[in-house]
Each structure stands twice: as C-alpha cells, then as structure tokens.
Assembly symmetry: C2
Homo-oligomer: 379 residues x 2
Amino acid sequence: MPSEYPATALELRSTLTDDGVVRLAIRRTDVADPADDQVVVRVEAAPINPSDLGMMFAGGDPSAGLPAGDGIHDAVAVPVTEAAVAAQRARLGKPMPVGNEGGGVVVAAGSSPGAQALLGKTVGFLSGNAYAQYRTLNVSQCLPMADGTDPADAAAAFVNPLTALGMVETMRSEGHTALVHTVGASNLGLMLNRICIDDGVGLVNIVRKPEHVELLRSLGADHVVDSSAESFIDDLTDALRATGATIAFDAIGGGDLASILLSRMEKVAGEQAGEFSRYGSDTHKQVYIYGGLDRGPTTLRRDFGMSWGLGGWLLTPFLIKIGQDAADRLRQRVADEITTTFASTYGTRLSLADAVDPSQVARYARMATGDKALVTPQA
Amino acid sequence: MPSEYPATALELRSTLTDDGVVRLAIRRTDVADPADDQVVVRVEAAPINPSDLGMMFAGGDPSAGLPAGDGIHDAVAVPVTEAAVAAQRARLGKPMPVGNEGGGVVVAAGSSPGAQALLGKTVGFLSGNAYAQYRTLNVSQCLPMADGTDPADAAAAFVNPLTALGMVETMRSEGHTALVHTVGASNLGLMLNRICIDDGVGLVNIVRKPEHVELLRSLGADHVVDSSAESFIDDLTDALRATGATIAFDAIGGGDLASILLSRMEKVAGEQAGEFSRYGSDTHKQVYIYGGLDRGPTTLRRDFGMSWGLGGWLLTPFLIKIGQDAADRLRQRVADEITTTFASTYGTRLSLADAVDPSQVARYARMATGDKALVTPQA
C-alpha cells in the first residue's frame, strides 16, 4: 500500500433532516486506495459555485445558519422550509457529498498507464465531492494541467469553463450565429466574453448594474446592455439586431426576462421577414435557463410567434450528448488556457472550518459578483 | 383556354386598416389558368379552423362585427385594438387571403402528368386561400382522394389530420413513448384518440368538462382527465404514471397548465429515479404549445428539474423538417382513412355570404366544441 496519502482525511457532507434543518458538517472519512484506473488527489482548492449551493443548503436560508458542531468537528445548521423538505425526500437523512469540482496534485496512482501518467501532476477534477482533503478519483474525472500550474488555478476547470464553451457549442450545433448571456459580469460571463472575442462570435452581455457595463467594455465586449437602465428594451433590441443573436442562456430564470428576450428576437426577425405571417417569423428563437438566481415563476407573454423554445440547460447531459471526442476537445482547450481564457478570481479563501462558520456561510452564499469563495481543504 | 371554369369567381379577403378595423369581405377575383404543374379546383367545402381565425379577424372581437358591404358584395367589419394593429403592421391595408384548407373537384389541369392525373378527382388541398369558389393550385398542394369521396369529407385533410399525426411522429422522433393532449374533445383530439388506439400509443386526454370525459371514454379512450375536477392534479399524475407520457401538446397556451404538466411528469420520473439529484430527474419532459385558446401569459413555476423544454409547435415547419417522403406517407394515410380516422363533424354549413354575416361570425368564432363551421362556397 502506498504511503503518500493518509488513511483518513476530512471532508464536508450535507444532511437534510425531516425537522427542517440541513446540516453542513466536517467529518472524517476513509481515503480509498486507488483501483487500477484511479488516482488519489490531494485537494488544494475547490470553488463554491452557485451550482454547489443547492446541495450544500438544500434551498434553505444560509443567512440564518447557526453553529451545530458535535464537539469533535464543526458544523453549521440552516433552516429549510417544509415545502423544500418535501421536494427533496430522496436525500432525507443521507449525508450528501458536496463540491462539484476542485484542483489538486496526484499523490498516488493505480497500475493502468493512464493513472500512472498522472502521478505528480496538477489536475482539475469533477467529482461532486470536492470539499475534502483527499479524493480517490477515476482517471476520466481528472484534467491534467501543464507542469507548473498552481492547483488553485486548476480548481475551476470544469463547471464554468465547460459551461461557457458548451453555450457556444450549443449555439453552433443548433444553427445560431450569436448568443445572449444574461449574467455578463459573472466569472462565467467573463470567460464567455473572452471565448467569444477569441472565436469571433457575437455576444450580447446583459448585466444588472451600470458599473458592470464599464467592466465588460474595458474587457473588450462590444455589446453590453444594462437591464436596470430605462432604455433596456431598446438597447437590447439594438444589440440583437447588431449581432443577429437568436439564442440566449439565462441564469436568472424567474420573471419576464426570457419572455422579453424571445419577444425582442422576434421583433428583429420580423423586421427582416418579407411576408406577413400570423404565426410570426420562421426564425427559431431559443432561451435556455441554466440557473435560478430568481426562484420565482417564469412568465411568458407569447408575443413572439410560434418558432421558439425555452428549456433547461445542464452541463452533464450536454457533455454526454456531444460525445467523448468533442468533450475531450473542450477539456483540452480548458487545460491549455486555464490561466488566461478560463482564469477565475476569488474574493475569499476558506478552510473547511471557515466553510461551516455561520458568518462565512452567510457571506459566500450571497454569491455577490466579485466575491466568489475558494475552499482550501489543506489550510 | 379550357372552359370548365369561369374567368372570375368569388372569394373572401381580410383587410386590416390603421383605424382599428378588420374587414372580411366577399370580392370577385380572376381564376388563373393552370400552369403545367397546376390544376383548377372547384372548391366545394372549407372548414373554419381555430388557426384560420387569426388571419380572418386579426385578433379583433368577432362578437362585435357589423355589416360593411360596399353595395355590390357583402362584408363584415370587426374592431381590433390598437396594440393588435401595431403587432400586425406587415398586413396593414393588404387584402389577405383566408382559409388554410379545403376540398373540391379538379375541373382543369396543366400539361404535366401529375396534373393530368388529378383531372376529375376529388382532392383536399392546403392553400391559405381556400374560402373561394375556384382556386388554381400546384399539384403538390393537393391530396387526391379515393373515387367516390364526398368533397366535403376531403375539406379537412390537412390541418387537423396532419397535426394529429405530427404529434405522434414528434413524440416518436424525440424519444417519448406516450403523449398528453390538452383539448381531448376537439375534432383534433378525437382524431388523435383514434390514431393512438390504432397505433397502440398511450394517450392522456385532458378535457375541460365532465361530459367530455364520457364522450372520450365512449370512443375507447383509456385515460381521460377533467381539468375542472377537484382531483385533476392527482388524476393527471395517475394517468402520466400509467402511460409514461413525457411529452404534451397544448392548445390552451396561457395559464399554468404547461407548468403543471412538467411538474407532474417530473414527479413520476422522480418516483422511478434511483439517486437524488438536485437538478431533478434525467427524464426529458417536453410541452409544445400549438394553439392559444387562452391568450394570457404562460406561467412556469420551474419545480420540475432541469431536463425540460417548452416551445411552439407548428405544422408547416414540422412537415419541412421530416422531409418529403415522410410527409407523403402521412398524407397518404390521411387520404386512405379520410372517412374513418380523420373524419370531421360540423355544426353548421355557411355560404360565402353567411361567412360574412355578423350573427354567423359571432357564432362560428366562438369555436364551441361540436359547433365547427364548414364554408361551402358554391352555395
């Protein structure tokens, strides 16, 4: 048995119980020996993405967390409404692993050539249990980085980079030539902006604050529209006309933004259509909801003809759909450009103990733009 | 020049003007001589489908029609709101042809073998200008019926039959095995019910009145759910569970029916899923809106995971998408089963003069189940 990793290590788990509480706790767990095609990664960093919060806090209110340690390890308890508990019966009482992705160093490897090739490498990984000191992972879950890469830079190599690339790939594969992104100033939005500049793809960035217009413009974005401005609808229409964007990716979800997007795309399409049709233009207009910053209902006024679609968009089914070769191509681009196109910035770094500290929880769960948290489990 | 058709004949046209009035009028028009691949059809019958009303009355209020003849020909004038006028600028002042489909007898034909083969035949046709005494049409617009078919039976061979078949084809091509239809007791719904019984496809019929439950059951439907019943949600869930339906076609459009459908499909999918996922089940759930009986906004609560889609569904793009061969196969089935599977029933028959009579307009525009109107232009 190799000795480069301990027999046990610390991890975070989230347990929802029937009494309306979700408990995010540090606990000690076994570090499994690697099978032939596995490696053991010493986890150096793992980001807290919006997509992690649901599993961590089960839709509860992270601003109302209280200390809930058991005397040995720290924990935080967060209240969850009865309705949210009812919607998540399948996880009741089960300590769920948390942390979609992370970065670290491969400290042990199984016997397969693929595993051996990773020994000593810095890797990013996608695992669903990244908030831990050590993880035993399949080779296929790891993305090796160039020698000398800081493991912290490798920590966010999957969710945001592949989602941003996936948006552009989806745009192309569904026959569109430009796209809209509704949270332009997010880490994901900044990546998407860099990809679109590099690839010459038209991008309409929607932001929610005037200062974010300036930020994106300073980063070379041609089309930035502020949804808090009185001229939003006209500005959006102009940007859609200029780019020809007929697909949008929306992280907000609730409210009437999807309806506005479809309606304005249809307006531009109608300007270009020759003949009148009571079914609207032939131009297919698509909005994908990939997040839910606004959990309220989505309202569609259906003033956009009959050629339209709205749907959920999720990374994993997208990667399965495009197949291994195409997914590998995207992953390789991420590895090659991890410190440029796909660089992330963090507002705070947290030890595992910090990650279950109620005041830290209240802060990082707000997901304020520019204040993203990075968990550093060795700290 | 052949003499089997007159030089001029009567037709209906609909003209929207800037003063907020749409005028549906009889007028005299030339009957064009057929080109090589064309035929002249003496139109015997043409149904008024829900999809015809938009072009006829431009979203105005058909219950408020007034006589508006010009002294030679009759017409009806219907008020249209300013917003509806603004949304239809492209048709302002243009006399738009009306009537998506009809049936008649081919009385003259061009020189091509395809055209000659239709001479004397009863045909159904799709033209967008069917409310007329004679029409010169391309061979490809016509569907020849077996000898002895009543032209009235051929009048509704396209819109409802191909839409019903298109729903089943779409269901299959997108990987679903059973479907939901939200207006089960409509002419279209009854056709779909017959198709699904013949083809062994699971169908959940949603109806809005208790008596329609009885009607559909008497016609052999296994799953009929009354949306006016207090037990609607549970009944729907049971029917979804029994059929495994994960796609729905909705003619209502507004309100929360699409949201309820997606949510209940997800509930059933979740019962079958093994592992908990905060993104919901992997089962793709789809609702297509193909009509707008409720013009109000569509509200989605998004309590159905991330694997879902909502979109518009329209017959013509569907037929283009499946290609000529597949479309021909569907058309042939319609011709073969026009008096059985695809039979329509009508509550009233109207001459062209009746069709612009304000009291008749108010009646047929209500589109009451069982009171469908058939225009008979030779009457």
